[in-house]
Symmetry: C2
Subunit: 364 residues, 2 copies
């Protein structure tokens, strides 16, 4: 198939540093090319891809100090896509709602993966208006605030199968990996370590926005013999950091639509102890690839049971469900489904009854 991928332009593909959406678009793009598809990526010129790169702007906007108006580039990108639309069987957007008024006019086949949280009041009117734009969720949990829009399927994010090798967890420590922020609850991870007596390694970056939170709330907690703060680590260090850990702690306090670090841990054969929120219960199989807990007491009990889990099962679940090959295959199935429909048929023709959940349920 001839497929266009439309990522945000905040980061290059893949991102030079942090950047969740752009990283997933990179994995998907590379895998689609590998599977023989003709893929065009409308990304920043500093992207690295085996697909055809249609360069929209010279540099990713977030790390470019000269960029004062990132939106101008995103609107420009839309126009480039429209002008080239006839060259593709399908256009895959990763830019939220920005293209909806244009794509709604039905001149091309398209699909949109929603990467962000959807529980903002601001989003309701626009998604209600565009209830018939075909969209994909990255977890079932993500759909909850907007159950009645045109969900095609949930496609979980995936990592390249060989990106990480299984580790043996013999480092005898718990791992925390991510940003230091109130939503990620590093304080909970530290409390778990102190109450179980098992060392914790914290590999995390501190964004400017979270500097105050780090200084005031987290730094004082780090001064403890069981806790080691090792700062931000890159992709190449993650394999060892995660693979040597007894478990990844994922004590989040927000409905995270998809927690990438959970599948990174599974890829290294490391189980996950996660607080029950957002995508957690969809990704972690209770008592198999980790434990889904509801409070601190359950978290501590989970740590005590963690050595009983079969680590090879974690890796196996990763290979079966969370590789970029699996992700790409699911997307291709959806692409084909869209392409089989004629013309604008893939747009629903009558507004849904917003009180009738069943009527426009998922196509799964």
């Amino acid at each position: 198939m001839r497929i266009a991928q439309i990522p945000p332009l905040y980061e290059s593909i893949p991102p030079k540093l942090y950047g969740g959406t752009e990283r997933v678009v990179s994995y998907l793009t590379e895998e689609l090319v590998k599977q023989g598809h003709d893929v065009t990526l409308f990304g920043t010129k500093d992207s690295v891809t085996s697909a055809t790169l249609y360069p929209v702007c010279a540099r990713a906007t977030r790390l470019n100090p000269d960029c004062k108006d990132a939106m101008a580039w995103h609107v420009y990108q839309l126009q480039l896509v429209i002008e080239n639309a006839s060259r593709f069987d399908l256009i895959h957007f990763h830019n939220d709602y920005l293209h909806f008024p244009l794509s709604n006019q039905g001149h091309y086949r398209h699909i949109t993966t929603l990467h962000g949280r959807l529980d903002l009041e601001d989003l309701k009117p626009i998604y209600k208006k565009f209830y018939d734009i075909p969209v994909v969720s990255i977890s079932n949990s993500q759909r909850k605030p907007l159950p009645h829009i045109h969900w095609l399927s949930t496609v979980y994010h995936g990592l390249p199968k060989d990106m990480y090798q299984a580790g043996d967890g013999k480092g005898n420590y718990l791992a925390f990996l991510g940003r230091i922020s109130p939503e990620k609850r590093p304080d909970r991870a530290i409390e778990i370590a102190k109450r179980t007596g098992i060392p914790l390694k914290v590999a995390a970056k501190v964004d400017k926005a979270d500097a105050e939170y780090f200084e005031e709330r987290i730094k004082p907690l780090l001064d403890h013999p069981l806790v080691e703060f090792i700062g931000e680590i890159g992709d190449h260090q993650k394999e060892k950091f995660l693979g040597n850990a007894l478990a990844l702690l994922f004590p989040i306090d927000w409905p995270e639509p998809f927690g990438m670090v959970m599948i990174e841990a599974l890829a290294t054969a490391t189980p996950v102890i996660a607080f029950n929120n957002g995508s957690v219960p969809e990704i972690i199989q209770e008592g198999k690839t980790g434990f889904v807990v509801n409070n601190m007491q359950e978290a501590i009990e989970a740590v005590e049971k963690i050595r009983l889990l079969d680590r090879s099962l974690c890796r196996q679940v990763f290979e079966n469900s969370f590789t970029s090959a699996v992700m790409a295959q699911k997307y291709v199935t959806l692409y084909e489904q869209i392409c089989r429909r004629e013309g604008k048929v893939f747009h629903l023709q009558t507004p849904p009854n917003w009180s009738t959940k069943e009527k426009y349920a998922s196509y799964d």
Copy 2:
């Protein structure tokens, strides 16, 4: 004519507090209604207008603490406009480039007033791409960074004729009115006062973003018998504040596309001493309605000559050139010009030669 006005949604129409673009849209809308046109305003529900209000969102986004994603409302607004486009002879956008990919498809007649500065590198590709969208500048100076796009005309902002009455300037002070910010150069105003020995009154708000600048750079300068800082003032206080002043000082240090406070001063019959930047030389007539200066020495000489100017001429120039009636009449002329063209004819058919200035010069 049946006209739609599409303002930003950051402020209500008119704004409850600060908000340049939304204020001008309010003046224009009220004047068009007064002139007998059928006007629909796609604004926030808390707007106050004699036009038909099409409410897009309940509250203006900037002052709504619950608003986390203002862009969602702006994209939603575009869709509402498209759905209703056939009801209007012409759609007047005040939202920069956001609608360009949609309006470019030519299903409705439209005109766009560009309200912001255009000298950002980020803007070049999108305006080059949409070189044929008909746009209006708010000063000729504003066009400089993008001379080759489809400029229809410059239409200066205007105020309701009766908003302010002429004052006699007998307060024997110089006035500074606006935001405290490095671009507005209140420090220059203070230096002018000190060097001429004429008192200065500073009526200005301090935004959060400028708090440090105010504390460190400006506050120390305010402790002087000639300088009085009176804080932020509302519209109803401006008449007296400006009308009693010998002159308004407008010592800006950036290419401000249109300085509203200059015409507010002229409306109260108060001349303006302004540094030569942006729209200044288009608004101020040298030696008649004020002085356009290039440095501090010229500013001081201007203050010494200011009593020689005929204040009634300032008011007269305001009435002739800078009322909302004049502004609305100029826009109506442009609306009619657009409506006389058939179909997509008002879009240029071939790309301009970007090295040939003359080819797509203004329609003036």
